[in-house]
Symmetry: C2
Subunit: 185 residues, 2 copies
């Protein structure tokens, strides 16, 4: 299939409202190809994000749980994080996050998906990796502000969590549902 016709907007004015870590925002006045104007469009700037579907040598899926303050829920998640300036690549960022949050490493890694949390408002992408045959190589390396617990789930348990809408984060549900689609017996 062809790509849809690209119909970008013209930026009439652009201004940064904030430049904080986790809160870099610009407001733009824009004009559509048809001439219509929108006086205020808000763009949230973030570095790219990463997450990992990791399976151990025994075939278990490596999950964590964590409290997420904006939604106010503590949910099961896959390992995820932010590409730091010192990470050589999204893959390196994903491997670092897996090591820090769970103490697991090694294994075979491949890129799996690239998604946006919301292309309307976010300027960044999230890179999902598949890591197979990871194994414990260390303890967790958490900061004082990270309260992360580790869980090992079977394929059927992961499927059950998805069916019950208990993986609420779309950037994680999408690659996990893809994995179910492509690996179910």
């Amino acid at each position: 299939m062809k790509d849809p016709q690209h119909r970008p907007w013209r930026v009439l004015e652009s201004k940064y409202l904030s430049h904080e870590p986790w809160f870099t925002v610009r407001r733009e006045a824009v004009e559509l190809p048809n001439g219509a104007r929108i006086p205020a469009w808000y763009i949230l700037e973030y570095p790219d994000w990463v997450n990992v579907i990791a399976r151990t040598r025994d075939g278990d899926f490596l999950f964590i749980d964590q409290y997420r303050h904006a939604l106010g829920r503590t949910s099961y998640e896959i390992v995820a994080g932010v590409c730091d300036p010192q990470d050589a690549s999204p893959l390196a960022a994903a491997q670092r996050e897996l090591y820090e949050e769970t103490g697991y490493g090694g294994g075979r890694w491949e890129p799996y998906m690239v998604l946006s949390a919301n292309p309307t408002s976010h300027n960044n992408l999230t890179h999902t990796f598949l890591a197979t045959d990871v194994e414990p190589v260390s303890t967790q390396h958490l900061e004082a502000t990270e309260d992360i617990r580790i869980h090992l789930f079977t394929f059927e348990e992961v499927h059950q969590l998805l069916v019950e809408n208990r993986i609420v984060q779309a950037l994680m549900a999408a690659p996990l549902w893809r994995y179910i689609a492509e690996n179910r017996a």
Copy 2:
């Protein structure tokens, strides 16, 4: 499986930085159960969102395309929108959005998934519906600032778009991958 232990943070201070449509933000100082403090956490407030996997009487999938300014791409999408105060329910919002963006209506509707764009930063949820046997009942009803084109895709074309990472919006990729997982021959 049990839910993970809920470990909410204590809010020490909360302040609205903005109260605009599409940009309502509060900044909170918080304390974790272990006593660690985070001086600035940013919470983006939105009404709930909806989207729809819609299939026509012929079995085609109803897609649109639209330019998304923050990411700067024009991509294929499923119909999506915001719950307005006058919508009786997320279902009513989804049916209204399908009608406005495509002119399609009727059919059988069922709730399919509930997801968050990012529970770290967003306080809202996105409700996905499955609509089967929808049919054209009108023309599109677009605002001047909406530039939306309609496409009909087969099951295999939707699968192909997903495999090629061309459905970039995670809130759409997740329910579509679930649909592939549950309906592939």
